[in-house]
Structures are given as structure tokens and as C-alpha cells.
Symmetry: C2
């Protein structure tokens, strides 16, 4: 499986393909042509074929894609069969929503614990986890070896906390703190979530043709 | 200002440009070359020039971009100077986080109210708003004329609620309910937020080179 130099825009579309195929499978559909897939996703058929060809040969000329088979392949490509141990750092409102609403197992992760610096929050139960104090992180990481940290902390604390977490063995961040983590952190993977970007896109589209 | 047929990928990058320029301005920087901008954003200089050329002539050969001026232009282009009246539908944990953490004013929106179907939640104070029952939506919309709805409700309820809201004059959705809203809703703008897609991208990158 050739996985090097896949462009950022292909990586960006993979989850959409996966989501859409899951939807089709749920509706009992068995196969779909690249043309039909393209139409539904507002892409071109050749783009879809090119994207998928980055990872191997899927689909058959004149037959289209077998939905379940392609979905299974995408699970492997995206890494959804993994069980990467993860922790949430920050148990405020955002941390709570993430813990309660994100099915980490469905995305190849396994949530191990939730941490906060605020002693008033520590001890609370969130999504079946007891919030632990951040001082316990070192011991926890040595024992449980989490690889991923979900950062639900204020921007001011994010960089320093990230560096500390890297020293404890964290290899990937799902970062909800405003502001990107410093690019010097390129020994790890960082996925920054910018809800504001999404809201700006809505703003732009609503302004278009105004 | 030529705003038609701007490609989806340009629209996707606009908020990043805006965010990054704001950051530079905060740090007291006055101008930046497209090359430097490109390096910082992991894009190419020609891509940045092309993107910005969609909207007009910015920057000067050999001088680069004036950061404050370009940022001001992007504000206008993205529509951040607007005051689009918005409501949040769904006052559970997610609705609460959005209400409390998103500075709608900074993105060209103005939050007017929060609604929920659960009478046990109605009457609660969230971010300075008293949660109102969904039955009061019609009267509220007739009076306040919100244009945007932030959907923080379960997927099962999303489509039906969206249709009702459109009939009440809503023109844009910021949709946090899992699953895209039906494309038939193309008389309105829909920005779907898929946190799972973001988590899948992290999963993919952590699997790469494994």
C-alpha cells in the first residue's frame, strides 16, 4: 500500500468518502459507480478515481465500487481498526462534550482518562471517567502509555502542556485550543480544530452574492 | 470584487489566511512576502497569490503584503463585518459549549437566543440567554428575524428541524448534528461540522509510516 506523499487534499477527502460509504451501506446499497459517488459528493468522477488510486486498485470498469469492500479498505487506510490509547486534557465544558459525544473507539482510538488542573473539577465523573489532577499525568503516562492527547485547554496553556505531554510519550494531538501548536512540534502529529474557520466559511458563503 | 465561482478549496483557505494575518498583526509585524506567508502556511507562494487574486489586487511586487490592509480586506471578503442574527437550537452540552465559547460577533454573527425541546432545560441561563422552548420559535422568528441557526441537536431531529427553520426564514445553518443535511436544502447555506472527520485525519496521519 503506497502511502507516502498523499496530498493534504486527498487526506481531507478520505473521511468524507468513508462517511458516505457507511451511509450507503446502512441503506443497504451494494455498489456505486464513481460517477454516482461524484455526483453525491459534489466532486468529479476522475477526482474520486485518482484519490482512491493513491491507495490501490478499487472498483471495476463498468461495475463500479463494491461499497462494503471499499469501506473496509478505507477503514484500514485511515487506521480505524487501531486502538490508540488517548487521554483528554482539560475537563471543562468542551472536554466534557468531547468525552461524552465522541465515540473514540469508532475512530481507532481508546479513551483512557481525563485530566484537569482545577482541583474543584478533579474527582468528578465524566463519561465514566474520574477526572484526575494534571500532577498525576506523569505516573499515569508511565503506566498506561497513552499516545494521543485531546487538548481542551485555553490557548495560553496549550504550547507548554503539549511540550510536557511530548516528553511523556504523546505522539499525536487533537487540539481544540485556539491557535495552532508550534510547528517545531513536527516530531508529532497535530490536528488542529478551528471551529471559527467553519463559521467563517458559512459567513463567506452567506455574503457571496449579497 | 469578483466573487463568483470561487473554488471550494480557496474558500477553505481564506479563514487560515485571516487567522494567520491576525496573529502576525498582533505580533506587531507590518508586512510579509507571499513566499514567507507560503512557508509559514505550508503552501506555495504562487498558490497564495492565485487565491488572493480571486478577490482583487493585493500586495506589491518586491514589497509583499501590508498585513493590516490585507487583513481588513479579508474581513470584508469573508463577511466578518456583518451582524447576521443567529440562534442556537439545542441547549445540551454541545449547545452550551458553543454558546459559551464561540465569539459570534468576531465572525460576523450576532447571537439572539437559545432554544430546546426539553422543558427541564428551558428557563436555564446559558451565556446570558434564557433557554426558550422550541414552541416559541415561530413567534420569536417573526419578531427577531434570525437568519442563521446553529444546530446542536441529535441527527434524527436535524432534517425536520432544519425544514421548519427554513419555513421560518432561516437562510444558513451551522450544523453540528451528525450527518449532512439533505442537499435539497440548497436554497440555504449549510456548513456541516464533522469532528469525526478531523479525528480520522489524525488517525490517518498517525497510521502513515507505521
Amino acid at each position: 500500500m503506497q502511502k507516502t506523499s498523499i496530498s493534504e487534499s486527498v487526506v481531507r477527502r478520505l473521511p468524507r468518502y468513508y462517511r458516505f460509504l457507511s451511509e450507503l451501506e446502512k441503506r443497504g446499497k451494494e455498489r456505486i459507480s464513481s460517477g454516482e459517488l461524484a455526483k453525491q459528493l459534489s466532486l468529479t468522477a476522475s477526482q474520486i478515481r485518482q484519490d482512491l488510486n493513491c491507495f490501490g486498485e478499487f472498483g471495476q470498469q463498468g461495475y463500479g465500487y463494491n461499497i462494503s469492500a471499499l469501506k473496509r479498505q478505507l477503514r484500514l487506510i485511515i487506521g480505524l481498526e487501531g486502538k490508540r490509547p488517548a487521554i483528554i486534557v482539560g475537563a471543562g465544558n468542551l472536554g466534557k462534550v468531547i468525552a461524552a459525544n465522541i465515540d473514540f473507539g469508532a475512530f481507532g482510538f481508546c479513551l483512557l482518562g481525563i485530566f484537569d488542573i482545577d482541583r474543584n473539577i478533579c474527582g468528578n465523573e465524566i463519561a465514566g471517567f474520574t477526572v484526575q489532577h494534571i500532577n498525576e499525568l506523569r505516573t499515569f503516562c508511565e503506566r498506561e502509555k497513552p499516545l494521543v492527547a485531546v487538548l481542551c485547554i485555553p490557548q495560553e496553556a496549550a504550547q507548554e502542556t503539549a511540550e510536557m505531554l511530548i516528553s511523556l510519550g504523546i505522539k499525536g494531538f487533537w487540539n481544540f485550543s485556539h491557535g495552532d501548536l508550534n510547528a517545531e512540534l513536527d516530531i508529532v502529529q497535530v490536528e488542529n480544530v478551528h471551529l471559527g474557520d467553519s463559521l467563517m466559511r458559512l459567513s463567506y458563503r452567506m455574503s457571496e452574492g449579497r
